[in-house]
């Protein structure tokens, strides 16, 4: 080796070391920059839209919404300056008006109650009983996260619609038909389908972390089983039930596809109206309404977080309570009663959770003359021969996969970098955490609207007009939806890693980025893959932001295609739904096999 070679090698080594040293801060800065461009700037645009009318700052749009009985019902009179007593009187009267916001809160409340009522028994079953398939049922509770809501809506149509399986079953026994769609109860039940597993998931985790020793101590001190439950178990699971409820309220308050599909415009929520106002190009009112919605959601979340901070009970290193067999060991009332209750629950849960999916699959392969593949055939024919204004199924599938892949390519590295940033200890970490997780709380409508107004329509910077292609905006919106889930899955795993592994690597000479690459990522790779699958599935199922950005363009995805079919042709909609189900199920299997246990939601 010559001196020149050696010097060359050393320069290269030094260069590599310099790159490795700076790559993590660089990636962090890049992630923040992406976040600003695809989230904070667009959301700011929405705010500006709402307060800047014809070049002047004004709160007119907000005042208009707050004092309009159409939105706030009787409460609007309060904001308009009527006496509170008169308003309360009106609210208590029989023909009170709720307004759109009031109705949204009303259906969210009903949905929350339904979700808790259906979720807590499942948590009881999963936490306290042993039976074959318990683990499977438990991991299935994560499924709603990746099931596209529009597909669930199709499933509800196939079950409860005029020609659905429910009416077919009723007809067999000479009853019916019943007309359940559109109706408030359909919306509430669909929301329960979605959120009861979430409540169950959170509550089960809390129930399993109750220390058996604490219960046994209470029993040995003289408390009966019920008293021990009330004094020891309940205080530890109640905050989790409340958390599940608060999250359900926020999710269902901002609900869009389910209401759009199952409620029609007669039962419109705030989100549906925002969508409609945008369609009418009334951006100021739409933006103001979206912000009012955001304020209410954030208010509920903040209230919950305050409660959680004050009521969290840490029980580390607990030994979980033993599980009981599902088959009663003796036929006493004490053993039988809860099991009979669970059996009744199982029937309801089966109808609610299995029927929509099964009905959708069945509807996709059945016609007036028995089993058929005509609906799938229709999809293929439409792809071949559809007019340019019609939705082409193949294009929708292709768009979904391309957007999913592209969104994943952004969301995954961003999620991993933010996970690293939020698991290290430094001043300002809380702020970074909040800034990075804010997209979880902001509805797709706002993100979509902001991207549309801010980036797709273009910005003027120094005489240059910068406009982003609609497809890119959709990818950006999907990445914003997906990366917080990557963080929620990867960050707990990184947090659980022994900090000294990284310190050992660094003491051995590895720069921070190398330690991440060599030590941390190989050890959490199942979580990284699970996060990737999650981000991909969310992108494939995303409806709200896509609906805003894809309207009137050829960039429709599978959920958008389903929504366009749903009103006219249920068959093709269900066939499309099955395609979507297959894609998301593959993602779900990946999530489940590789680390769905620690999803921090």
């Amino acid at each position: 080796m010559t001196d020149g070679d050696q010097a060359d090698g050393r320069t290269r080594q030094r260069l590599r070391a310099a790159v490795e040293r700076r790559s993590l801060p660089a990636l962090a800065v890049l992630s923040v920059a992406v976040l600003v461009v695809v989230f904070y700037y667009p959301v700011a645009t929405v705010l500006v839209d709402a307060v800047l009318v014809e070049g002047r700052m004004t709160l007119r749009a907000f005042r208009g919404i707050l004092t309009d009985p159409f939105y706030f019902g009787e409460l609007a009179r309060l904001f308009a300056g009527d006496s509170p007593l008169a308003v309360i009187d009106a609210l208590l009267s029989g023909d009170r008006r709720l307004g759109v916001v009031g109705f949204t809160a009303y259906q969210a409340t009903l949905s929350t109650v339904a979700s808790v009522l259906l979720g807590v028994p499942l948590a009881y079953l999963l936490a306290r009983y042993e039976f074959p398939g318990r683990e499977t049922v438990r991991s299935l509770t994560i499924l709603p996260f990746v099931l596209p809501s529009i597909m669930v809506a199709v499933g509800f149509y196939a079950t409860f619609g005029a020609n659905g399986t429910l009416n077919a079953t009723l007809a067999l026994v000479g009853l019916g038909p019943v007309d359940l769609l559109p109706s408030l109860s359909a919306i509430v039940v669909a929301h329960a389908f979605y959120n009861a597993p979430l409540v169950a998931r959170i509550t089960t985790a809390a129930w399993e972390s109750v220390d058996a020793g604490a219960v046994e101590t209470a029993r040995s001190l003289g408390a009966g089983p019920f008293r021990a439950f009330r004094d020891v178990v309940w205080p530890q699971i109640a905050p989790s039930i409340l958390m599940g409820g608060a999250l359900t309220f926020v999710f269902t308050f901002g609900t869009f596809p389910i209401v759009l599909a199952l409620g029609g415009f007669e039962l419109a929520t705030v989100e549906v109206f925002v969508y409609r106002l945008i369609g009418d190009l009334n951006y100021a009112e739409g933006a103001a309404l979206a912000l009012v919605e955001l304020a209410i959601s954030l208010g509920v979340l903040y209230g919950y977080l305050r409660y959680e901070a004050a009521n969290t009970i840490e029980s580390g290193g607990a030994r979980p309570q033993g599980r009981k067999p599902l088959w009663p060991p003796s036929y006493s009332a004490r053993e039988l009663l809860p099991r009979v209750g669970l059996a009744a629950y199982a029937v309801v849960a089966f109808v609610l959770f299995i029927a929509p999916i099964a009905s959708m699959v069945y509807a996709s392969i059945s016609g007036p003359n028995g089993l058929t593949l005509e609906h799938y055939q229709f999809l293929v024919e439409r792809q071949m021969a559809g007019a340019s204004f019609q939705v082409r199924p193949g294009t929708a599938v292709r768009n979904s996969l391309v957007f999913g892949g592209a969104a994943l390519a952004v969301a995954l590295p961003m999620g991993v970098v933010i996970s690293v940033l939020t698991t290290r200890r430094y001043r300002g970490r809380k702020l970074v955490d909040t800034v990075a997780m804010a997209p979880l709380a902001v509805s797709g409508i706002i993100v979509g609207l902001g991207l549309l107004r801010g980036l797709v329509f273009g910005i003027d910077i120094g005489g240059w007009r910068i406009a982003v292609d609609g497809a890119l905006a959709i990818v950006a919106a999907h990445a914003v939806v997906g990366y917080p889930f990557v963080v929620r899955i990867v960050a707990p795993e990184l947090e659980a890693l022994d900090r000294q592994l990284v310190e050992s690597a660094r003491a051995l000479g590895a720069p921070r980025a190398r330690a991440l690459l060599d030590v941390e990522l190989p050890l959490v790779w199942p979580a990284v893959i699970a996060g990737a699958a999650f981000a991909f599935a969310l992108s494939v199922g995303e409806f709200t932001a896509t609906a805003v950005l894809a309207s009137g363009t050829g960039q429709y995805t599978m959920p958008i295609a389903i929504e366009r079919f749903i009103g006219r042709r249920l068959g093709p909609a269900t066939a499309m739904g099955v395609v979507l189900l297959v894609v998301t199920s593959v993602s779900f299997v990946l999530v489940d096999r590789l680390g769905g246990d620690r999803v921090g939601l």
Binding site: S504, L508, G509
Partner: protein
């Protein structure tokens, strides 16, 4: 203070580390000579591990400076400090084999002495008495073996300083004793500067050239093991290191080589001939200590009569707890003691810990 030929390998100069309101290390100064085996010992939470992490560069001091070979290393990241670290839980990379673990540091530094990476790994595993284990999964090893792999991994790139953070505390007592001898032998063979953190004072005394006893973030005493044991510089050191009987009393009379100290009605002769520092005079308050093993049964010039309260049989000796004029007294003896006994000890075996006037 000893004059050193060159700069010390590691110097802490008035180092302080605060976390918000709490102070882990406060105004700590010490220096470790090149090739020295230096131990930091103290109760849990005393700041000894923080001190080690400050040297390694995992933490930066909030005050004072850390100096390596005369150079301030403020802002130098751990990967550039050329230190080897062994943690209590070993922190072996679970997704790598033993060989890959040991070789990891060679990604960033060439093996010393121009050996190839493979040669270096083999050499290190030989050194820690685990030859031929390159392809083993670290999870299949016993605790003691893992600890030695961690040691080999830390030594592979040829660090200037070896930092050991309670490396034995997860192991059982017998293994700990065997391994500490091995660690000391390796350290001597390589002549590597070593900073060893432990809460086990016996371990620190057994292997170190010098020991720093840390309490509440500051060094109470820095000295060779024998001085730490026989000549504790503070009440804390006297009580923390080994069993001890510590008393407070007032000087009643002074001769050339002894002081007569009164504890209530009792009188004890205390040897002061080898004492450094200001002379002892009548009226001073003294804190002094007598090790349990020097209290023997037939009396010497100091005699105390005490009552046996309880005894712990430890095998080679028995630790006996006695009551002497309402003071607790501990004795180590091979004799069976019971009832009232008279014990004796020489004034030279009494060490003055603190003096106040």
């Amino acid at each position: 203070m000893t004059a050193l030929a060159s700069d010390p390998a590691v110097t802490l100069d008035a180092v302080t580390r605060r976390y918000g309101e709490t102070t882990a290390v406060e105004d700590l100064s010490l220096s470790v000579a090149d090739g020295e085996f230096f131990s930091l010992v103290g109760p849990s939470g005393c700041g000894k591990t923080t001190t080690l992490r400050l040297i390694a560069g995992f933490e930066e001091p909030t005050g004072g400076t850390v100096i390596f070979n005369g150079e301030d290393v403020a802002g130098v990241p751990p990967e550039d400090r050329n230190v080897g670290v062994v943690f209590q839980n070993y922190a072996l990379f679970p997704h790598m084999t033993v060989g890959e673990n040991v070789a990891y540091g060679l990604n960033f530094a060439d093996p010393p002495g121009g050996a190839s990476d493979d040669q270096r790994v083999a050499e290190l595993l030989e050194l820690v008495d685990l030859p031929g284990t390159q392809s083993r999964d670290p999870r299949s090893l016993s605790g003691g073996q893992r600890q030695r792999v961690a040691m080999a991994r830390a030594l592979a790139p040829g660090p200037d300083v070896l930092l050991l953070d309670e490396p034995m505390s997860a192991l059982d007592a017998k293994l700990r004793e065997r391994l500490r001898v091995q660690v000391r032998e390796i350290q001597q063979e390589l002549g590597i500067t070593t900073v060893y953190v432990t809460h086990d004072q016996e371990e620190a005394l057994a292997v170190s050239d010098r020991v720093a006893v840390i309490n509440e973030g500051t060094a109470e005493q820095v000295a060779p093991p024998r001085d730490i044991y026989h000549r504790p510089a503070s009440r804390f050191v006297a009580e923390f290191v080994g069993d001890n009987n510590v008393f407070d009393g007032e000087v009643r009379a002074v001769t050339d080589d002894t002081a007569i100290v009164g504890i209530g009605e009792e009188r004890i002769s205390v040897g002061i001939s080898d004492r450094e520092g200001p002379a002892v005079s009548v009226g001073d308050r003294l804190t002094f200590c007598v090790r349990p093993e020097v209290l023997t049964v037939p009396g010497r010039s100091n005699r105390v009569t005490a009552t046996v309260e309880s005894a712990e049989f430890l095998g080679e000796t028995t630790r006996v707890h006695l009551d002497w004029a309402d003071h607790d007294l501990t004795v180590r003896t091979r004799d069976a003691l019971d009832g009232d006994v008279t014990l004796g000890f020489d004034p030279e075996d009494v060490h003055v810990v603190e003096r106040r006037n």
